[in-house]
């Protein structure tokens, strides 16, 4: 199983590297968008999947990072790379603040507080023209320089996004298998018991939000650069719901779930284009069916299939009459 997993991972990575070479700019754009959204979903997966804290503000955090980079590069002439620590730091801080209510309330209350925060962040983006350009947005956000490669070339920038996503995947993997990951799981499964074992649940709760938010904020910097333009709309509530959908439909609390989920949410509408006007209808229906029959998401579905095949194999010899 272990080697199979490595081989599958290798093939997947090779595809990620080779496939875009054959695509036209739109395909490359879509894939760049996908790898970036994977990171945003991974961040939410840390907060929601691993630590069990519902957050419906992920798009807002993405926006904080995107606006930070956009403002610093276009208005103050900062280098893209220098804006990264600021974008990460600000979103981390905001994640801490949004996490505070989680120390008092859980479940649907937490969902609504975070949802409220997302709308507030959006309103600030839209209304504060002096800072964010308001509804008009910010134009001509530069692509980063990197070893003299022209990042305006979609393929080069895609590879940069891919490397970034791979690093973030490694970071998520590291966190999940570190003692922190275990503490997050304890927080999700039984915070009272965890506290009695010396787990500082307050700090871990805040960290779960802050790290998830920082993943989104850092990605925001690349997202702004990918689009070369940002306005408030991609950071509205409905996109936070999309990220939630990515994590749940892919498979929460698994490392590859968010990758699968982000792929589904971004690419499914593309596949359904043949359905023209009806594609959103079909899409919504598919999501409901998935939730009804496989709430653990695609990864859960896959595991169930593997288990079923395993059972059938194990049973097969006894079923065959001799």
């Amino acid at each position: 199983m272990g080697t199979m997993r490595w081989i599958a991972g290798g093939i997947f990575l090779a595809l990620l590297v080779l496939l875009p070479r054959e695509l036209k700019p739109y395909g490359i754009f879509l894939m760049s968008n996908w790898v970036l959204f994977c990171v945003v979903a991974m961040g939410l997966n840390l907060t929601l999947g691993y630590a069990g804290q519902i957050s419906i503000a992920q798009a807002g955090f993405l926006g904080v990072g995107a606006y930070t980079t956009a403002i610093l590069t276009t208005r103050f002439g900062w280098d893209f790379w220098l804006t990264l620590p600021v974008a990460t730091g600000l979103s981390f801080l905001l994640g801490l603040i949004v996490g505070f209510p989680a120390l008092r309330v859980q479940h649907h209350y937490l969902a609504f507080v975070t949802l409220g925060f997302n709308i507030l962040i959006y309103l600030v983006f839209r209304n504060e023209d002096w800072l964010t350009g308001g509804a008009f947005g910010i134009f001509d956000i530069p692509r980063p320089g990197f070893l003299g490669v022209d990042m305006r070339d979609p393929l080069s920038f895609y590879y940069l996004c891919l490397v970034f996503a791979a690093l973030m995947f490694a970071a998520a993997w590291w966190i999940v298998r570190s003692p922190w990951g275990r503490a997050f799981a304890a927080l999700r499964e039984n915070p009272v018991r965890a506290a009695s074992l010396g787990v500082d649940i307050r700090t871990y709760t805040l960290l779960a939000f802050a790290i998830g938010s920082a993943f989104a904020g850092l990605t925001g910097a690349f997202y702004a650069s990918l689009l070369e333009f940002i306005d408030p709309y991609p950071f509205a509530l409905e996109y936070s719901l999309s990220f939630l959908l990515m994590v749940i439909s892919g498979g929460s609390a698994t490392l590859i779930g968010p990758i699968v989920g982000a792929g589904m949410v971004l690419l499914l509408p593309e596949w359904l284009r043949f359905a023209k006007d009806y594609y959103l209808l079909i899409y919504a229906l598919l999501v409901m069916v998935l939730m009804a029959f496989c709430p653990e998401g695609m990864v859960g579905l896959w595991r169930r299939m593997v288990a079923a095949i395993g059972r059938r194999r194990a049973r097969a010899p006894t079923e065959r009459p001799t």
């Binding site: 609504f112 409220g116 209304n127 209808l281 899409y283 939730m291 009804a292 709430p295």
Partner: protein, 302 residues
């Protein structure tokens, strides 16, 4: 003297805002009550509640425009259709298969359901806003400088009657008390011999009726359109939580409070942030009185 005149003017303005706010808030309250009832009995957080108000308005209008029915007949027919679609079908096809998986999958499913209803209304009815007839003859009254319309008064009257009737039903009838019992503790209710399944179904039907009434009240002002649910749904959540998630009275207070707060903050503070103030109220309430202004603390489980 001038000061006094100014003061009167300020009073009139405030009164004007209050009356509009209360009448809009009363409509939010109806949607919020249904939302709370669903949460109580089944733990469903219905992210499609706003679309649940939009759809009956579209159906009603379709009966009026294409079926040639008078509005009140269309309303009666829509009440039945809503009961079947938003009550029975919603419970059987969406909530029932998913509730055992926990809250999150159902949240996602209702979000998807909301999209489904929006797109359906757009594709099969109209992608443009449509005017909607007034349920009562439209008269504008001027009372000491404050304008009130017959529709305002109608909204208020309907909401008050409906809420009182609901309170009486829940507190004063056997069926209503059974529903309350199921809402508080389904297992205990089952032991007491209450038909839990029937009560849950009844809750869904009550919700369907409430949103249909909300639809006939809000749409004449708001116009009938496929994406109307977004704003109404969000406000209903806020109202429900602000008032108290486990109380019908709370949802009423929440709805009215949010309606009034929106108007006052838009007039006196900022129109650009008009949607922010109810949210700030929401966050404050959750932080400092998580069970809502009128709600009771839920049992703590260790």
């Amino acid at each position: 003297m001038a000061l006094r005149a100014r003061r009167t003017l300020v009073m009139i303005e405030a009164l004007q805002l209050l009356i509009s706010g209360v009448s809009t808030g009363a409509i939010y309250a109806l949607a919020a009550i249904g939302f709370v009832l669903l949460w109580q009995t089944t733990g469903t957080i219905n992210f499609a509640q706003g679309e649940f108000v939009m759809l009956p308005s579209i159906i009603m209008l379709a009966f009026v425009l294409h079926g040639g029915l008078p509005l009140w007949v269309a309303f009666a027919v829509t009440l039945v259709v809503s009961g079947l679609l938003l009550g029975v079908a919603f419970k059987v096809l969406v909530v029932q298969p998913m509730i055992r998986h926990g809250v999150l999958p159902l949240v996602i499913a209702t979000i998807a359901l909301g999209i489904f209803m929006r797109e359906g209304a757009k594709e099969f009815f109209s992608n443009e806003a449509q005017p909607f007839p007034m349920p009562v003859p439209y008269v504008v009254l001027e009372l000491g400088g404050v304008t009130v319309t017959s529709h305002h008064l109608f909204c208020l009257a309907v909401a008050v009657v409906l809420v009182l009737a609901l309170q009486w039903f829940l507190g004063g009838t056997r069926t209503g008390r059974s529903m309350q019992a199921v809402a508080q503790n389904a297992q205990a209710a089952e032991i007491l011999g209450i038909d839990v399944k029937r009560m849950v179904m009844l809750t869904f039907l009550v919700n369907a009726a409430l949103v249909t009434v909300a639809a006939i009240l809000v749409t004449p002002v708001y116009l009938a359109k496929w994406d109307n649910g977004e704003a109404i749904g969000l406000t209903a959540f806020i109202a429900a939580i602000v008032g108290g998630f486990n109380q019908v009275r709370g949802a009423v207070l929440g709805g009215v409070l949010v309606g009034v707060l929106e108007n006052f903050s838009a007039y006196y503070i900022s129109t650009e942030y008009r949607t922010a103030f109810p949210l700030i109220l929401l966050i404050l309430v959750i932080m400092f009185r998580p069970y809502g202004l009128l709600g009771r603390p839920e049992e703590r489980t260790v």
